[in-house]
Every structure is written in structure tokens, then in C-alpha cells.
Symmetry: C2
Subunit: 360 residues, 2 copies
């Protein structure tokens, strides 16, 4: 007995919504049901170009999507400054929420979104796709192996993306009124998430932004970084920028092992992804060489990571709507921790690189 697919409504016609629309189409338990834009014409065009069925509802406003009783869940790729308004309203209309990152402008805003979701019994999940790639579980398996990896000690993450002239002038991610967190919210989000992920979501104690923040004329961050320190002596750094060639690395080192991945946010290929793991790495003093050599792990997937994300989200939605389950608290919890650290980095930058105590 096939389950009814979760019917998605899309709020807005952002570029990223094209990728997620494709993922919804591809996911067996999900279907494109509605799209709303402030411009009906844009919504029509978007639906026609992105595989919406002919029966799909095309609305000239976001409200109309939320008022449609047949919409089970909404995907919200709106500019970050609009998240609180539309995410809270969606939750109040009992729509499950797949929310683009950064989830809010700050953790206080996100707390209002979480409250609305809890009060209305709806699932909240952010759009961090790589968390849903099967590679994630394989990497975590290595990091959790006390024999091969040992105790976690150090995490470094970078995410750069070379914005062209048009991006740096016109993209919503460099506009103070739309996405004031800039590269920190867009790229740093992934770095911070990868650091929390490696640390089993244990929050660091102190966050200190690195020197060298780049800020545009509107006051939006174009490049920044931070060091993070935990109670037990673990340390981490990350660096993000809209100004350099696309690079996306996680390096995680323990007492006995090292993990490298160079395409953690977006795998180089859709159906196959890899990472490198080294254990008890040594070399002889006498000749040049390593013993043992690092090992390349390859993970294949039938579904793209974004389709895996949509499928997992829809599985939770079905389980709440049909099975009476409670929403999975893991997802909003890690969204909140990520946002909390973004806030701390921003505060450190604003205070001239002062160390910031992280308080959950």
C-alpha cells in the first residue's frame, strides 16, 4: 500500500527552489503541489519550467499557498529577513516547514519559529543538504571509531565561493535588508554545521572571530572566519568567503585518525561521493613514505543528497500526519545550535574580535 506523497508548496521562486523542486519530483514520497510568488506570472513560469504537474496550484501570493488546505508542507527559500514572518505563519497554518539556511537573522528569531512549530505540532528542518547524503553516515562511522579515529581533537572547515561582479552587487546575500549575515550566514553556516556535526553537536565554550573580516559598503560580511574552543581542549577554525575560488573542505583530526573531504557541501558528482580516512599514520625516518597510506572511501547513492533530504523530511511529515508521531526534535535543535554559533561569530566581529562565551 503506497503512502500518499507529501504535497509541497513552494514560497517564492528563488534559484535554489529549482533544485529542491527537482528533488521533490524525484523523491518517491513527495510531490510538487503548489507554488506562490508575489507575481502570478513568475509563479506560472516557475511551475512550467520546474516540472510541476498540470494540476499544480499557482498562486500570486505566499498567503494563498499557506491557506490551501491540501498543502502538507512548505519549502521556504525566501530571503533570511523574511523567514520569521513566513515560517511562523506557515507553522500556524499547520504546514510542516523545510526552511532554507540561515534559518533566521539570529537565534531569538529562530526561537519564535521553533515555538510556532512546537505549538502547532509541525516538523521543522533546515535545508542543509549534505547532512542527508549517505556519505555523512559513513564519515560519522569513521569519526566514532575509537580504534581508527580515537578522540576528536581538531576540526577545520572552509567554504569559499567566487561571486562575480553581478553577485557582489545584486545578490540578495550581499544586501543588508535581505541577508545581513552575508557570507557568514550563507557559507559559514555550512562550516559551522560541519564543525558541530564532527563534535557530535557539543557546543564550543568560546568563539573568537579571526582577523581579516571583509565587509561591503552596506555592512554585509563578504569574508570572515573564527576559532572555536571546547571545554575539553578540542579546537576548530573555519573560514568563509564570497571572494575566492569555490572550495569546500572539512578536515577532522583525532588522536589516531584524520578525515579529509573536499566537496562536503556539494559532492563533485551526483551519484558517487568519497572521502579520505587515515589511521595511525606514520612514516619511517629513513626512507620517504607513509605507513599506512590513507584510504579513499567511496559512497554511492541512487538519490541526490537534496532528494535524500526531501525524502527524510517527507517521511517525518507522513509519520506525524498519519502515524501520530511527534516532530523529530533533532533537526530544529541542530539548526538552533548552528544559528547560535553564527550569532556568536557575528558578535565577536562586531566587538572587535572579542572572545564570546557561548551560552546555550
Amino acid at each position: 500500500m503506497a503512502e500518499t506523497p507529501v504535497r509541497f508548496g513552494i514560497l517564492g521562486c528563488a534559484e535554489i527552489a529549482r533544485k529542491v523542486s527537482r528533488a521533490i519530483t524525484v523523491s518517491p514520497n513527495s510531490t510538487l503541489y503548489a507554488v506562490g510568488s508575489r507575481s502570478l506570472e513568475k509563479a506560472k513560469k516557475f511551475a512550467a519550467e520546474n516540472g510541476f504537474p498540470l494540476s499544480a496550484k499557482i498562486y500570486g501570493s505566499y498567503e494563498a499557498v499557506l491557506d490551501d488546505p491540501d498543502v502538507d508542507a512548505v519549502y521556504v527559500p525566501l530571503p533570511t529577513s523574511l523567514h520569521i514572518q513566513w515560517a511562523v505563519l506557515a507553522a500556524e497554518k499547520k504546514k510542516h516547514l523545510l526552511l532554507e539556511k540561515p534559518v533566521a537573522l539570529n537565534v531569538a528569531e529562530f526561537d519564535r519559529i521553533i515555538e510556532a512549530c512546537e505549538a502547532n505540532g509541525v516538523q521543522c528542518m533546515d535545508g542543509t543538504m549534505w547532512m542527508h547524503h549517505p556519505r555523512e553516515a559513513k564519515m560519522k562511522e569513521f569519526l566514532s571509531d575509537s580504534q581508527r579515529f580515537g578522540q576528536l581533537k581538531s576540526i577545520h572547515s572552509i567554504f569559499y565561493s567566487a561571486g562575480d561582479e553581478d553577485f557582489l552587487k545584486n545578490d540578495i546575500r550581499v544586501k543588508a535588508d535581505l541577508d545581513s549575515l552575508g557570507a557568514l550566514g550563507d557559507l559559514g553556516w555550512y562550516c559551522i554545521r560541519s564543525i558541530l556535526w564532527a563534535a557530535d553537536y557539543e557546543l564550543p565554550k568560546i568563539v573568537t572571530a579571526l582577523p581579516g573580516t571583509v565587509i561591503n559598503e552596506a555592512g554585509v560580511i563578504l569574508a570572515c572566519g573564527s576559532s572555536l574552543q571546547w571545554e575539553d581542549g578540542k579546537t576548530s577554525t573555519f573560514h568563509c568567503s564570497f571572494l575566492y575560488n569555490m572550495t569546500m573542505d572539512i578536515t577532522v583530526v583525532g588522536t589516531k585518525g584524520t578525515l579529509h573531504v573536499h566537496d562536503f557541501v556539494i559532492p563533485q558528482e551526483e551519484k558517487i561521493a568519497s572521502f579520505s580516512a587515515a589511521s595511525r599514520t606514520g612514516f619511517t625516518e629513513f626512507v620517504t613514505g607513509w605507513v599506512p597510506l590513507p584510504f579513499k572511501h567511496v559512497v554511492t547513492t541512487d538519490l541526490s543528497q537534496e532528494a535524500c533530504m526531501v525524502s527524510e523530511f517527507s517521511r517525518l511529515v507522513r509519520s506525524i500526519n498519519d502515524g501520530g508521531s511527534k516532530p523529530e526534535i533533532k533537526w530544529p535543535t541542530i539548526s538552533r545550535k548552528t544559528q547560535l554559533l553564527i550569532d556568536a561569530v557575528k558578535e565577536s566581529i562586531d566587538k572587535g574580535l572579542e572572545p564570546i562565551q557561548v551560552e546555550a
Copy 2:
């Protein structure tokens, strides 16, 4: 007409001297000629075990090596605290100097070594082997390519090495009286060198140590890191530690390209080494994948990187002794810059992570 090989004297029987002795044996223009230790027995054993010819001179002191008129050059792998005494004396005895890193405890000491070398017309080169691997030139070619790499923006380097209980208790590199710079001098040296190398030896303007320095009971650094900032906005971080699984990375990112190398200090294999280069990396928003993919560059070498180093050093020595050339100033210049930044990181750590202005 074959040139006379440069006759090396080795001061002391350090573990690393075994590797360099092998490199001298393998290098066509170099020969093992003498070894001196405070213990004649140790020197005899060392010579017997490390391929010294039967005719080699075995001395019961370092002085005796320096007093042998047939020694052209000395290799000095002594504890860092002894460098100034023996390197200066070697130069005064007209011996060319292959000096292990860190070259001194601080730049003031190294300046005295440089002065002695200049006054006596002898070559000074430090023992940073990877600089002499043919891979170095290939990587530099990529970084210098304005089309493929663009303008240098960001450099990250890490070097970890997991010291066992014996190392952390007894190695000279954790002893305050022998190698007080600890992991900074031993491992951080390579990180700093790689950063300077990527930046064409342009010194940063400001050095700020990262939070999280680990220091042993004797006050020696076991783990530390730093951020570095240049006048033009380039930034860099490095991190080094004796406490984590062996890891040695350089990540260099420009406006158009990215270079990754994971075995920069010691290649994974003796005769073949690689690095990854990516240019104008992008991805489509619609499907998952990168265009173009990074490219793996493979470089082969007949001589190990340490033999390449010895050969280059001996080529310079021959050119000075036989051809009347002046010593190559490049090598002591980059040694000095590396030491200068080590001093700055140490000063920042000692001053509670204060930013330090670098003054050449």
C-alpha cells in the same frame, strides 16, 4: 669531467641524520666523509650503520670534525639550543652549513649565524626537504598562473604528528633547555614555510596566535596555531600539534584556483608525489556536481626530496669553492623569514594572543 663530490661532516648522531646520511650517499655530487659525536663509540656505531665508507673519519667531538681541513660542509642536526654555538664555529672554520630547522631559538641568534656565514663566504641552507622536491616547482607554476589561479587570497596549513608517551616525555623537542620552541619550531616551521612559499616570501603584516595553545609542564609548546594577515588583505591560518594523528596539509586559494596537498612535508611515496589543482570551480544549481572537476597532478622524481636537497646544497658549495660564486642568499633569507614569524607567533602566545606587528 666529474666534479669532486662535496665531503660532508655530520655533527651528532640524531635520528634525522640517518635519513640525511642516506641522502648524501645517494646524491651524485656528495659524499659522507666524517662524523663527530661527544661519544666516539656512538660515532663509530652511527658510521657503521649508515653507509659511511671505511675511509670515513670518526671523531669523538664536534670540534674535531670542524678542524678537519678536508671537510667541505657540515650537516647540523643538533638540538636547537646548540645551533648558534656550532653553526657559528662551523662557519668560522669555513665549513658550508646545512642546518636543521628550526635554525635557531630566535631570529637574533640566527642573525649571528648568518653574519658568520657571510663573513666566511660559506653557504647556509636549512633542512626543509620538501622545498627541493620537483613537486614544489609544479605547484608554484600553478600558483603563479594568473589564468588558472588568479590572485592569492587565502592559505591554510596544518602539521600534526602523534607523539607517543616516550616522545612526549623524553624527546629533545619537548625539553625546555634543548628545543624550547617545541611543536612550533618543529612542525609550525613547515606550516610557516609553506605559507611564506605560497606568498612568494612576502611577510605578513600582523601575526595573531590562535586560542588553544597547549604547553607542557616544562613550558614547551605542544600545540598552537596562528592567523596571519598581509597588507593587501591576504589571510592565512596554521595549526600544529604533537598530540594528534599525523596530518600535513596545505590549502592555497586564489580568486580563480585552489591547490590542495596532503603530504607536503613528507610525500606518501618516495618517487611519486601529487597535488590537486582546481580552476574556476563551479557547480550548477539544478543538479549536483562540479564543473570543471579538480585535476590531480602527479610528479615523479628519481631522487628522494632529501637527496634533491643535498644535491642542490652541494651544487652551490661546488660553485662557491671551485667557481668562485657567492653563496646563494635565497636560502638564509627564507630561513630568516620563517624564524621571524616563529618569533612573532611565540611573542603573541606569550602576550596572551596579542596581535604582533611583523618587522623585517
